[in-house]
């Protein structure tokens, strides 16, 4: 706090800022324990940055050759072909289809999960009796700890047979809209099913964050709404939801981050096809993470480089999502 006095605050305080007086700089001498603590937390903060830099450095080092060989077409091409053993066909790698697939599946997941998470968290925080709240919160925490391979198996064996029926219904009624149209009547392993599964997987984390921020909504503002004749829902809409907006966006982006990076579950319920596809009910899709998982075991050294490059793209995509999230969160904070 003392450091903030190196600003021109004292000058302004005494009304001398406009007459060219340079603000006084304070030198702070800290005690040993303060220095040790500062060093400790600085090391902690730097450690995460170092890990981040090491990961990106490693991926860049291993994948750089691919960017050099394929240039911008690595991002725009959907073709993923290893070189033929006899050398008759050269290798070609592009992640456009997987990038679009990652985006489509994640957006579906977020679009389904966020309204549910809002409803669940409002219910838990403001409507549910204490005993029910305790039980439901425990169950949600439990759901968050289910491994993704279990989700994948459940999605494949239980969710998919039902979801195929829902997909057919959507296609029947809304097939005129390109998003719900299918080139061939195959509805298994579609982005829609993968998105639904991912929605269930990210629901606990989004709900948990939303519940946390909704619980901190100012009680006096809620009372003010009641004091003006508002219903409970009116108070939620006017006070709690705007107050929790930035937190909800943060939680959504956390969920989106998980959805973008999800591997095994998506791999099991999504048909990996190297083709840009916006027909969410069609059995065509993929994402970067499941591409890496599916190819890693049998990749040639050169394809391995391509997978590292794909990993780097995913890494930066996640960083960009987090950066955008932070910007939105900072802009949408409700003044208190």
């Amino acid at each position: 706090m003392l450091d903030s006095w190196t600003s021109d605050a004292p000058a302004k305080l005494f009304g001398v800022s406009d007459i060219g007086v340079t603000p006084r700089q304070l030198k702070v001498s800290r005690g040993t324990s303060d220095k040790v603590f500062r060093g400790f937390i600085l090391a902690g903060a730097l450690f995460s940055l170092i890990v981040l830099a090491l990961i990106s450095g490693f991926l860049m080092y291993r994948g750089f050759g691919i960017f050099k060989d394929f240039g911008f077409s690595f991002f725009t091409s959907s073709k993923w072909e290893a070189a033929a053993d006899d050398g008759s066909a050269p290798a070609h790698f592009g992640v456009a289809a997987m990038l679009v697939g990652s985006f489509v599946v994640s957006v579906i997941a977020v679009a389904i999960a966020v309204p549910f998470a809002m409803a669940v968290s409002l219910f838990l925080e403001y409507y549910a009796p204490y005993s029910l709240r305790y039980v439901l919160t425990t169950i949600l925490d439990l759901v968050a700890s289910i491994p993704s391979v279990i989700w994948g198996i459940w999605g494949y064996t239980i969710l998919m047979p039902h979801a195929v029926g829902w997909s057919k219904t959507l296609n029947h009624w809304l097939g005129w809209f390109p998003l719900f149209d299918v080139p061939a009547p195959i509805f298994e392993r579609s982005p829609f099913i993968a998105g639904m599964l991912l929605a269930m997987m990210i629901l606990p984390i989004v709900t948990s964050v939303a519940r946390e921020v909704y619980s901190q909504a100012p009680r006096d503002q809620i009372d003010a709404a009641y004091g003006l004749g508002s219903s409970k829902w009116g108070a939620m809409r006017t006070v709690v939801l705007p107050f929790g907006k930035s937190g909800l966006i943060g939680g959504t982006m956390l969920g989106l981050g998980r959805a973008l990076g999800e591997t095994v579950a998506v791999y099991l319920v999504l048909n990996l096809v190297f083709k840009v596809n916006f027909h969410i009910l069609a059995s065509v899709g993929g994402n970067v993470a499941s591409l890496i998982a599916s190819r890693f075991g049998e990749a040639s050294p050169y394809e391995l480089k391509a997978l590292m490059a794909a990993g780097l793209v995913l890494f930066f995509m996640t960083l960009i999502v987090n950066f955008i999230a932070t910007t939105i969160v900072n802009r949408s904070k409700v003044p208190s």
């Binding site: 003006l228 004749g229 208190s336």
Partner: protein, 215 residues
């Protein structure tokens, strides 16, 4: 046609016995030192804290009767509260702050805006319509809070230390403004204050809450 409250009011750990009655068209001042339970009485009438024992009726309608397990929700009480700390919604501009209660009670947007402009004019705050609470002075915020309650045309108007956050000049202005406004409203008005001068100048009846003895 009165407000009758007798019984035990409670908020958190605090509780006390009260007996209050109030008539429409007049201001009843509730006086007492800090911690005597003045605000708790208003909270109980507004439905923000339930009555522990006793009875609360308005116009012969029971609002709160623990013995009968009867409790009317705040939105059914036709109350409007001006809180001591005002509690304007910080993310809404003045107009939306004032129309909030009307919109919550189902009044259409256009009609709500028209009434909000009338209420703002009544308290001399028409120029503030598009400002956010953070950009208002203490006196301006007070006017907006008053307009936000008056616009509801409530059956019961509850004022909790309504002059707490204004300077001396604004205080005098409000002391003259408030009785005029309340007279036109014909509502049951309860005003919490610890200022004897305010109580004498504005209220036609006074209820004094004795200091609560510590257990």
């Amino acid at each position: 046609m009165t407000l009758e409250l007798h019984g035990t009011v409670q908020r958190g750990e605090f509780h006390r016995e009260v007996r209050i009655s109030a008539q429409p068209g007049e201001v009843t001042a509730i006086l007492g030192v800090n911690g005597s339970g003045k605000s708790t009485v208003l909270h109980t009438i507004a439905g923000l804290s339930p009555l522990q024992t006793g009875l609360l009726t308005v116009d012969d309608v029971t609002w709160d009767a623990p013995a009968e397990s009867r409790w009317i929700t705040p939105e059914q009480r036709h109350c409007a509260v001006v809180f001591q700390d005002l509690r304007l919604f910080p993310h809404l501009d003045v107009l939306r702050n004032i129309t909030f209660g009307l919109r919550a009670s189902g009044i259409r947007r256009v009609a709500a805006i028209a009434r909000a402009h009338e209420a703002l004019a009544e308290v001399g705050a028409s120029a503030l319509v598009n400002r956010k609470p953070a950009n208002l002075s203490g006196g301006e915020r007070q006017r907006v809070a008053l307009a936000r309650a008056l616009v509801m045309k409530p059956r019961v108007l509850l004022l909790d230390e309504p002059f707490a956050s204004v300077d001396e000049d604004s205080h005098k202005a409000f002391r003259e403004l408030l009785p005029r406004i309340v007279e036109g409203l014909n509502a049951i008005t309860l005003m919490v204050t610890h200022d004897e001068t305010d109580a004498s100048a504005i209220a036609s009846r006074q209820v004094r809450l004795s200091p609560q003895e510590l257990p």
